[in-house]
Structure formats: C-alpha cells, structure tokens
Amino acid sequence: MIAFAVPFALWLTAKLLVALGLMLGVVLVVIWMELKWSAHIQSRVGPWYVGGRWGWAHPLAEALKFLQKEDLVPDDADDKVFRLAPYVMLAGTIATFVVIPIGPSVVARDLDIGIFYLLAVSSLSTLGVLMAGWSSGNKYSLIGGIRAGAQLIAYELPLVLALVAVAVQAGTLSLTGIVAAQATPLFHIGSTGISLPFVLSGQIIGFVVFIIASLAELNRTPFDLPMAESELTMGYVTEYSGLRFSMFFLGEYAGMVSMAAVVSTVYLGGYWLPGLSNDLLDWLGPFVLVGKIFFIVFLFIWFRWTWPRIREDQLQQLAWKWLIPLTLFNIVATATLKVVF
C-alpha cells in the first residue's frame, strides 16, 4: 500500500506544482499586460526599467516588494478568518482550472458535471471577499464585503443561465465535450466541414451576457463595487498589507485568467483551432488556449480603463431587468433551434 501511495503522492505533487507554476506564470504575464496596456491607453509608457526590456520583470519586483512588507493584523480583526480569507479567494479561482481542457487529451479531470463544478468553485472567491470584509474590523471593509455579497445575487443567475444555453446546444455538461461539440462540423462546403465556435453559431447573446456577468464576478470595472477605491478607500482589502494583500491581488488576476479560460473554452472553442489535427492540438492546444485567454483578458483590461463604476442598485437593475430576461430568451431560442435542426 505504502509503496504505491508514495509514488502517487509524488506524482500528484509534481503535477500540482507544474500546474500551479504554469498558471501563476500566466497570471504574472497578465499583470504585466495590464500595467502595459493601461499605460498605453492612458498615453503613458508604463513599466520600463525592471528586467531590462519593456519592464518585463515588474510584476516580480512588485511581488518581492510585497514580501518585505509587514504583515499587519488589526486589533479588532477576527484573527483566524482574517488570515484565511486571501487563500479562500485564491483557492476558488485556481480550482477552476481542474476542468479546463488545454488539449484534446490534456485535462486535469474531465468531470461529467464540469459546468456545475465550475460555477460552484468560482463562487468561492466571493466567500473569500465576504470573509475579508467581515473580519477586518473596519467599516469600509464591511461595506465592501456586504456589497460583494449583494453583487452575487445580481451576477450569479445570468452566469448560470447563459451556460444553460451552452449546455443545451452542446448536449453535455463536460467542458471537454463542449469543446468537442464546437469542433464538430456544422455544415459542409464541398467536402470541407465548417465548424464554428459557439459564439459564432448562436450563442452571441450568451457570450455578451456571460462577459458582463463575469466582470461582475471578478469585481472588475464597471462593477468593482466591493473595492470602489474612491468610495470605500480600498473596500475589503483596506486592512490588508504585505503578502496577504498580494494574495488578494494575485487572486483577482488569477480570477481574470480563470474566467477568461472559461469564456474561451465555452464560447471560443478552447484549445481547438480549425485545421489542426488532434495530435497536433495536444501540443499546440495550450498555446491556442492561452492566446484566447489573452484576448478575453485584453477585453477586461480595455473595459476597465475606459469605463467608470456603476452603482450597486444599477447593477441589480441591469442584471434583473436585462441580463436575466435576455438569457431566458437565449435558452428558449437555443432549445427551439436545437429541436428544429
């Protein structure tokens, strides 16, 4: 038993470390991209010196800076919850990657109920935010945390309903299955099969709604209400410093990457690219997926540096008056088309 268990544990640890390293690597690149793109949007240069060229090492330098800061826990804080909150937030976003396929046969775990799992763990990050807000012993943090909770009511339903339509069209809840469904030819021109990602084959409403709802889930502008720097100083992270703050920071960007990975898998065809065989995609798939992730992340960054923040009640109105009816319509339309064709 033990002879078997040890290699398995080692193998698992190795896999985990590689996966974590890859993901954090992508996250660091995304942080750098945000610094650079926001700079160019604002006619600035952005990071320039660190690392010699284009300031590529800037996120690493910032991480080092955070490491050196004092780890403060306020007197009034609920100590244990306060310390745990950043990790809950980070864990939720990283756990998403378990079901994201990065190649036809490269996936950590192809769950049959992939979408359910996805929605369950991606909501965990809100729990982290709530914990941070509640335990900080700061009124601004508290308001920020409660706002995050209220925000959940607005975006979670459109998020789920948008994915329902995808599940109907694909006929499966497994993410590998969803990518496979997008790779299946829709129609033929001559002998060439034409296959389209879901965003081009009927799910455009779902795509838009999902992007809006995921912005709300990620607390990104225009829905960065829990942070709301100009209103709540820094919202739920007001009292955090040093490494714990950087965990929140990382969690935010890891959340962006994971949400972008979900969007690209579900709507943009994930690792799949037309004209590439499955053998090739096992190697090229990760790069294709990362390319699509970067595209979605670019959208997120673009929105953030263009738009202001809206109010909590306006978010609720947007969600309940527009997004949910739209997704319901989308489900009906998708189901009807599915039956007709």
Binding site: Q42, I143, A228, L232, P308, R309, E312, Q314
Partner: protein, 398 residues
Amino acid sequence: MTQLDGRGIVEVSDGGVSVELKGETMTLNIGPQHPSTHGVLRLVAEVDGERIAKLEPAIGYMHRGKEKLAEVRTYAQITALINRIDWVSGFANEVAFIRAVEQLMGVEPAPRAQMIRLILTELTRISNHLVFASSYPLELGAFTPLMWAFREREHIMDVIESATGGRFHPNFNRVGGVKPAAGGGKTQKKVSLDLPAGFYAAVENAMDRAELACDELDDLVTGNEMIQMRAKGVGIISYDDVIAYGISGPNARASGVPTDLRKLETGLLPYEGIDFDVITRENGDAFDRYLVRILEIRESIKIVRQAIGSVPDGPLQAKVPRVLKVPPGSIYVRAENPKGEMGYYIVSQGGRIPYRVKIRSASFSNISILSKVAVGQLIPDLVATMGSLDFVLGDVDR
C-alpha cells in the same frame, strides 16, 4: 422613493406599500484621509446601510492661518501667500487681491498688464476646469480621463510658466501691473523685460490642445451612459438653495443662476470688449455641474483667442511709489475665480501692511450644501455629489 422621518429611513415602494427598513445606524468617518475628499476634508456620516441619514462636514484640518499671516506682511508679500489658497488656480487668486489694493491706492494699472492678467486668469480657469474634468470621472471610477486631460493641461502650465516662472504659484502680479520677465538678478539681465518670445504662438497651441482635450472628454466622459447614470439626477441643488447657501461659480450656474462676476463686476479686468457667453444649465445635478465646466473651458478658449489679438502695447507696470503705502480705508473686491466667487475684504490703517484681510473663498460656501444634499443619498452618490462641487481644501480652510 426614500423619505426621512423621525425614526429612520422609510422606503416607500411605488405601490404605496410602506416598508420600514430600520436598523442601527453606524457612524462612518469619511476622511480626513480618503481618496475622494480632495485632501483633508472630514465628513462624519451617519449611515443606515449605505444610505446616509446625517452628514456633518468637519473642516479645519488644513487651516493655515492665511488671514492672520496677511496681517504681518506687506502687500507685495501677500500675493505669494494668497495664490496658495486655491492652489489649482493660483493666478486667479492673485488678481482679485491686487485689484483691491490698486483700488485702495487709486492706482490705475497698465492696460497691457490688465490684458495679460485676463489671459492668464482664463488660462488658469481652463487649467482648473481640466483638473476637475479629469478628477471627477476618477471619483466615478474611470481612470483614463485623468491622464488625457492632464496631458493637455501640461501645455497650459508650460505657457503660464514661460510667462511667470511658476506653474502653480506664479506670484506674477504687482501693484500697478505684472512683474516683467521671469526672474531677476545678474544672470537674468539680458532677458527681455516682457512676455517671452513666441508667447502668443504657444498660447494658441495650448488652446488647440485644450480644445482637443474637450473633444476627447466629450467622447470618453460626457457621452458615456455610465457616467450619466451615475451623475444625472444626483445631488440636485435647487435655485433657492444656491441663493440661500451662497453657492457661486459654475455650481450656481448649473442650477440656473446666471451669476458670473466677469460680467457683473466690470472694471476689474477688461472683459467688456470680449464676446463670451455665461453658461447656465437648469437641472442643478452633478452632471450639469460637470457639463457647465466643460462648456466653460470652450468659452474660456474663445476668450483667450480674442484677448491675445488685442493686447495693447505699452509698459507692463504703471508708475507706483517704491515703497507701497496704502491710505487708510477699507474695500471689498470680488472676482470670478474658477471655483466661484473669490472676495477680499481689506482694511488698511495706512502704512505698508494691512490691518485685516478677510478672504471669502468659493469652496467654503460651496461645500456647506453637502450636509443638506447628502441626506438620503447612498455613499456612491455622496462621492458623485462631492466631486461635482469641485472644491479644494486649501480654499475651504484657508
């Protein structure tokens, strides 16, 4: 609909069903250190959830004793003090004061200097409004307008610096005129004792850039639905409240009060020959206050373009005695500062220093409305209202 009665905030739904949301209120200290209080304003808010039940501005964190300091300084030294009151529009602060002293002394300033004062005042106004137009979206959560507007504002700062030697605190006015050329001393002797070469071209260029900034802000901010969602119908100040609270400047004009001291107080600066409109709006909400300022930038650009064509030749300085002695008497002079009415009440008992200088600053009166409009608002609306009043703490506390 939200109403406030004695017990707390009552939510009245459209159907007429009254649901009482009554909980413990909590006291939220907004400031003195807070990103959107423009420095060290402190607002003691009693909030029920996010809704504000009571709000009390606590000021004085930036009291620098300007009025007292002015009592022990000569008139020429005081200009250096008072351009730090509202540091975003330093030059405009100086002009009203120096005009007051000139009128007390009976000195007629040089016409050329008057026109240069007018140009620089309007440049200051544009610069101030650009700061507002960039920082207001920041309070609503949009970062990019800040950078775009500041980029164009830099051209105006360059022009002001080239003429006066200072970007924020020009200290350019003297009794009887303006200080010729930047600097003095041995190395500066060769500098021409007038505006620098290429000044008018630089101003023209800066005006083009400011116009560009307005166009960009219109694209990015004014037409943005989310900005309108956040700012329209928020923090409405009625016509009567403007009068009752002594609100002035763009804040008053946004509520439909057509007060503009550039038109009313003739004789301070030569505005008579210049064709410009007083911008007013009717709604009096945060969005109108934003819009008035954007439109005023365009008006000021118009003014500057007319003024640089009509600067008369002549000396920059009228004949004044070497030692300034102001005869006994008192005077109140008010002028249109970018933020509103800036007034100086000067009492002289003769001699080189004033007996008393009372400074009436625009921001102080403008933020006094906060405790009235904020009641019943949400915290995000409070920030939207506060930002739209465009105050500077140095101007509030002096």
